[in-house]
């Protein structure tokens, strides 16, 4: 997995910290985001995700530490850095009394000169062409979220920072936004840094992740690597059941948990998940369903065990 990603660091923080009164909202964060990453910043509410994102986007001044983007110090080269970065913090708030088009024109022109065609193209990508000249106050939350992504598109940033981009969206909206995030990364080569408390989202879109709790970094790395460190549980429906139980019992990397009603619950050691299905099929066992129990939530609970009340 790692081989597909560049080692060029797009965003790096050194000992990044922010203190509000006596409370550290973020403490000594050392993050690294590589070019092409869909990097997910995961943590429970109040963990310090938004504070960190706000520091990266210059909305908050760090109490300590530094931020480097594209190899440049953010505070020394603010203009040069931010002209290549686009962000949405918390929710995409626009000027409600202006049209979608005018919002994009104003916000985009603060980065560079924009053409009408570029704005319309961005609106087309997010499916808002027909509403381009309507006031944003008539838009649903999902439409505003898509408009937020549209403004990210036409300014052609190299790094997009999204703070909980699917919050408040219905399932269809979530799916659309996730699709757009994937598309921005894979087809347009943009690096995405997003925070989320929706754990399933990380599995669906992220390539690398960092886990934060109470302002401190707990883990950082490739999603697949971090998850593969833990055994994974599966429910499988197979036929014939007895033969399958007998065969699986011989495997050292599988631990049977239960077998009843045509369904087997089992735990698989890290790195063997893909072998399981292949092994069963090659031994003439019909696999009717294959359902992983392990979620990022399990991982998250485990990794923050003892340090957080989620």
């Amino acid at each position: 997995m790692e081989a597909y990603f560049s080692k060029e660091v797009v965003l790096r923080t050194h000992g990044l910290s922010k203190k509000f009164g006596k409370r550290w909202a973020a403490k000594d964060l050392n993050l690294e985001v590589y070019r092409g990453d869909v990097f997910c910043f995961l943590g429970p509410n109040g963990a310090g995700k938004s504070t960190t994102i706000r520091m990266i986007l210059t909305l908050l001044t760090p109490s300590a530490g530094s931020i480097e983007i594209f190899g440049m110090d953010l505070h020394k080269h603010r203009r040069a850095v931010l002209s290549q970065v686009c962000g949405i913090v918390e929710k995409p708030d626009f000027y409600l009394y202006l049209s979608a088009y005018k919002n994009l024109e104003i916000l985009g022109s603060m980065t560079r000169r924009v053409q009408k065609e570029e704005i319309m193209e961005a609106l087309e990508v997010v499916g808002l062409t027909s509403r381009a000249f309507e006031k944003v106050k008539t838009f649903s939350h999902g439409m505003k979220q898509r408009l937020g992504i549209a403004q990210a598109l036409f300014t052609k940033p190299q790094l997009i920072i999204l703070d909980e981009p699917t919050t408040g969206l219905d399932p269809q909206g979530m799916k659309e936004v996730r699709g757009l995030i994937k598309e921005l990364a894979s087809e347009r080569g943009m690096t995405i840094f997003l925070s989320s408390h929706l754990l399933s989202e990380v599995e669906l879109v992220a390539t690398r992740m960092a886990v934060i709790n109470r302002g401190e970094l707990i883990a950082q790395g490739f999603v697949s690597e971090l998850l593969d460190k833990e055994p994974m549980e599966y429910s499988i429906q197979v036929s014939p059941l007895d033969s399958a139980v007998e065969l699986l019992g011989k495997l050292t990397w599988v631990k049977l948990l239960s077998a009843e009603d045509g369904k087997i619950e089992l735990r698989v050691e890290p790195g063997h998940a893909s072998e399981l299905n292949r092994f069963l099929v090659s031994n003439d066992i019909e696999v009717l369903s294959f359902y992983p129990h392990r979620t990022l939530e399990d991982f998250f609970l485990k990794i923050t065990e003892g340090t957080s009340e989620i």
């Binding site: 706000r54 909305l59 203009r79 040069a80 995409p92 708030d93 916000l107 022109s109 603060m110 980065t111």
Partner: protein
């Protein structure tokens, strides 16, 4: 310049910006129509105090006199209209959350706050010019032209300005009025950078203006002592351009004091905005 253009576009895209223009048009029209209908009564009251000593011919109740009268009456109302926009221009970005979109763009905070301040001054200037234009146009239409006779009752004297000289005097007076009102705008602007909603800055500015006006006009020695330290004392310096001779020294002093207020208030707003942590 681009930021200034966008800020101007934004404020003129909101209906609340036009409330001020609408109300001014309404108040001035109503005042001047009522004055036209009560012309004889007004004329009688005007002339009562000095008709024993002077013989006055011509159109005394003319458009210029009406303009000076309306300006005198509205110098408390205009600040309120100014605060509607000046008190809102920064705080509304926090209320609506757009401040987060704005401040993560390449232009620096100092450029953004300067553009907003210039827009506030532009709006203030526009509003006072609008007041002047509507007063004079309607005044001249309803009451005609003539020499300007000002009766300064508190100073027990009458000032006579020939018709040919009045337009220039009015231009200077309105320029001074713009200058005065920019202090109100600067104060509201400062409050706007401190707040995250528009109500606070609007009410706060009006409270300061009203308290200062009241304190500055109390006829007691203690309050008279305070008067030179209140910016509202200098805000009526536009009236001095309708005096004879024009007291240039007094005007310069007032203009400088108000200018220093503008600079001070803007600098505080600038520093506050530049260092502000955006947590909303």
């Amino acid at each position: 310049m681009k930021l200034f253009r966008f800020e101007t576009y934004k404020i003129f895209s909101r209906w609340r910006t036009y409330i001020s223009f609408g109300f001014i048009a309404l108040i001035v029209t109503m005042t001047e129509v009522v004055m036209k209908l009560s012309a004889n009564e007004i004329l009688y009251r005007m002339m009562r105090s000095f008709q024993k000593d002077f013989l006055i011919f011509g159109n005394v109740l003319n458009g210029w006199f009406i303009t000076a009268f309306v300006m005198n009456s509205l110098h408390i109302h205009i600040p309120f209209f100014i605060t509607l926009v000046a008190g809102d221009i920064v705080s509304s970005e926090a209320t609506s959350g757009t401040v987060r979109l704005l401040l993560i763009r390449p232009p620096s905070r100092s450029k953004i706050i300067t553009a907003k301040y210039l827009t506030t001054l532009f709006y203030t200037t526009g509003l006072v010019i609008f007041l002047g234009l509507i007063c004079i146009t309607l005044g001249l239409l309803l009451f005609g032209n003539g020499d300007l006779i000002m009766n300064y009752q508190t100073k027990f004297r009458i000032v006579f300005i020939p018709q040919a000289e009045v337009p220039l005097r009015m231009l200077l007076a309105f320029t001074a009025a713009v200058w005065s009102m920019t202090v109100v705008a600067s104060l509201a602007f400062l409050f706007s950078t401190l707040a995250e909603n528009s109500i606070g800055p609007i009410i706060g500015t009006m409270a300061v203006v009203i308290v200062f006006l009241v304190v500055g006009n109390f006829p007691f020695d203690f309050f008279r002592m305070l008067s030179p330290y209140l910016f509202t004392t200098y805000m009526v310096f536009w009236q001095r351009f309708l005096d004879n001779p024009i007291p240039w020294q007094e005007i310069a002093k007032s203009a400088i004091i108000l200018g220093l207020h503008n600079i001070g208030l803007f600098l505080i707003a600038f520093v506050v905005f530049d260092r502000k942590d955006i947590t909303s």
